[in-house]
Symmetry: D5
Subunit: 146 residues, 10 copies
């Protein structure tokens, strides 16, 4: 079973049970963002989490094995076209040099890891229109000199 | 005076005074991220803020005018090469479909605005290595039907 | 049922009944442009509209479910080749800086939303050759400072 | 004098006089959109209009000559990055197939000309946020068979 | 039946009858170039021509319907690799600025339409090697000012 | 003197004398298309023609030397953006496979040379709008087998 | 039968018989390079050669027909990745301007044809490591002036 | 002195003396192809050859130093546009898989080196049109297994 | 059997036996890196190694034949997206000019072969986090002059 | 002083003193690879190292300041063309999936850091041709689950 088949089975089971990533994350004690990324095949799950997810959804061992597999992270569009995803590309473009200035001022020469990394998405209610709050948290990695 | 000349003057004045974006933001009552983006020419400043920034740095009216100008936001590299900036591109690639799932589950069919948008960068101290915390906050914009 | 299968079923039913988007839009009280975009899979339909469209065409619930699904908006050609579509790309290229000048002069620093957005297409009869009139209507979104 | 120098002189004179494209268009009896596109170098002006524009701004004959020159229309970015301009690219991407369906249904097999073409930008006031209205008007060109 | 299936049926029928585009065009009173482009799916045929073509080849109504359909004109290679086709790309590259100079000198600011357009291919016999003569004929479209 | 400087001198002299490529070609006994391409630097001129052109325009030997130089033919835009030039790119895209069919049917397996090649541009007056007629004439080159 | 199926049949028959292109070329009186290119679908074969090849390999008439078909020469990778093929791309890049200098010095302004063209590959034994000798032979085509 | 300045000085001196690469190569005992590539900055020259070249042309030590420098081999166009150079790109595309077949059949799994490599250009006189003969000679490098 | 089918069979057999590339390499006397690259289809195996691998895994002769086949090395992504692979692309970008300086200083004008090449991957244990050690070993190839 | 000016001064001083990166690294107690990368502007130097380098070369404080600056790491060529650098790109392409297999087998799901990273270049003498040995050493970063 490859990651695509795994995702299809999980998404179908989730829809049939009327679940959300939010609800699943809460019940399973996992972040909804990480959970979704693992179920969409963009992160691998450690065995106990893979088992918990598949048992929760009533899916079999094959799905757990596929969840555990280390994914090859591929995206086809150099510039994403879906408007929701493009806006994150736009933020990287518009604010890239700003992030470099501000992060390196605070931490020194180095980067924010995208691997030793977590992310949360929250809803901030607002009478003028609700707001999406995305919090990224990555380890600072200083450049070496040797 | 164009934005590039403006940035050069501001960065020089800031360095001469030993300032940081953090300190400047605090003194001026502005977010360091927004302040840096305006000074790097990727955001325009309203007149009173442009004035405050230039007075604070002892720069002349020409700089204030350039800060007020509405910028044309251009980046040359479709895929950024600087590692710090690339990691944000990578996050958009790896987590793009996840963000779509989680945001649209919470808010319905629509996107997070990158225009009605703010961002903060914080340092989270950690004995295993400090962590960079980036918080993005954008208005949810639902798609119309008509 | 995915969006592609949905589109095939709708287009077939529409052709069998000899309908146009114009006629369907009129009968259903929807804009022909929005209606076509939803049926082609580039917009999601709210449940009551999805139901109305499928009942009107004598299609089943599966099509309604597919119409409701939030679409991932993907186009394969960075530069479109079909001449009708290319001309809109050309307009964005030739008139992009002009639109920026004129819109920002009228509204301040910000953009026209392509999400909180509607569009109409009309025919203007003209003895020297009929004319296509495309009217785009998008909310102005001012940039934030924070 | 090339188009770039011409634009610089016009934009400087316009700013010194505190003019807008709107005001200039009204005074000169020209559409502000066309006027801006000619002054930005993306359209050529017929001699009498070139003369009127330069006299109005107090500029010399060299500017008029440059306005008359037939421009070579070049844009550097295959995918524009400025958010205001990108949104028009996005509209061409998201609604391209829809425009093809709706226009060809109304007019037959052919395209909307981007040459025999005019465009207007209007402001529609709205308590929930003003709206940008862009109206494109292009001659329908049917494909030939021979 | 889509355009690809239509092309396969036409090409097979044409080969079985030992026909050429030349001969077919002569018998049907159509230009061989237009006829080939319609049969290859890059132009739509008006109903009476679609009918004439299919009757001539002994094909059924489904092929006629497919010939009538308005094609979406897509080509996959930004730079074509087949040497015959590449040479036309090369001509556009080498002679593009020349064509602009010469056409606009003769006609004013505008373009040659590729829609209100016809093309012929002829053979010019020559003892030093026969020559291909391609004649393009497109309506001149002047730019508007408004 | 490089080709760019040569072009600038020729274009200036031509404008000062109020000449057209048409008129120059007639007076010099050269095709206006070839003449323009040589003066724009996309073709080299044999010494006697280079001499005739420069004498005609009252330019010096340096210009003649530059006209004689074998040009390196470079164009910067893989897909040209100027609408007049783009339409020729579009013709290569839309009609590429058709040209392959029709030319190879007439001549066998091979190509039309873009080197052993001439081109003319004519104006065909038409009450419904004048028409641009471009005639390309290239030697047929058959593929070898060996 | 398309070219891909033809190639599969030929390659299989060749392997079963333990043949090489070298041996086949010698037996059939054809250059191994041309023979391989025709069998791989990148050149068309005249009928008598197509017949000879298929009879030699014990294949049927369908294969001969496919060998005769005029190929559309397509390669998918703008920059080839296979190291053997890339090296030829590298030679075109590193030595392109050199070849232009040396060929045009010897022949005048023009090019080496890649159509009226033959190529041979030989092995030059060498105790320090055998050497590959590739000999390209193309007709010189002078640019026209007209 | 960088390679570009070096090339300019060499090319000027060569033209003033009415030399050809052919003649220079003969006099200096170097291949005209290698000599041209070194003088165009795409190969470095060993000190004694750099000295010989500069003395022959009456140029100073700075040119010799620049000739010795190890070049960074850069070409700007992924797909070359000059027709002479493009044809070599086309050969790599059309005959790439053929070269792979024929070379690996003769030599085993490996490649022809483009580094341990020499090339010659010859003229083959022919009443039907002279022919360009390019001979490439590269060491065969077998892949390792370890 | 093509390389993809071969890889699928090998990977399945390896997983069923609970093997690692490390263990297999040790048992077979081959480098795990080379072994993995051959089994993934990016290197060909000499017959005796192909036989040893398939016997070890209990696979049939067809797999051995596929292992022996000379691979066409293709990768689809010009810029790889998987983070592990991207980091090697990043190293080539960040350190490319440095490697050129240091290697050519040590060896003279030439390159490190990627064909006459071996590579090892080792684990260096470290209390602050284990480290990956990749050792590349390629023959130095000096440029020729001729 | 920007990084480019800094590099020019350092390279000139290094050449005048007849130094190598090897010798400089040894004298300064720094790795020649890191030292070269800092001097070429692709790494920042901590103040004491920046001071040591400039004193060693007899350069002033401005150079030290430029060495300390955090660099923006930019490379222009998506696919590098210089053969020495391209070979590292080729290794990433050919061996990318192999490195993923072997590293993740040894370390689990994660990557080798290119930031917490060092590299050495060594010469391995060999009668059949000296060999370049490049040793990369990067911290393993495991993916998080949260």
């Amino acid at each position: 079973m490859d990651k695509q088949q795994m995702t299809d089975l999980i998404v179908t089971a989730k829809a049939k049970r009327g679940l959300t990533w939010e609800k699943m994350g809460e019940d399973l004690g996992m972040s909804p963002v990480w959970l979704a990324s693992a179920c969409l095949g963009m992160n691998g799950a450690p065995p106990e989490k893979a088992m918990a997810i598949t048992e929760y959804l009533g899916l079999d061992q094959g799905v757990a094995r596929a969840l555990e597999a280390f994914p090859t992270k591929i995206w086809d569009q150099t510039v994403p076209t879906d408007p929701l995803i493009y806006r994150f590309y736009e933020i990287a473009g518009v604010y890239g040099t700003t992030l470099k200035e501000v992060i390196q001022e605070k931490f020194g020469d180095g980067i924010m890891s995208a691997i030793d990394f977590t992310m949360e998405v929250d809803k901030q209610e607002d009478p003028k229109g609700d707001r999406v709050v995305v919090t990224m948290n990555g380890k600072f990695l200083p450049y070496k000199h040797w």
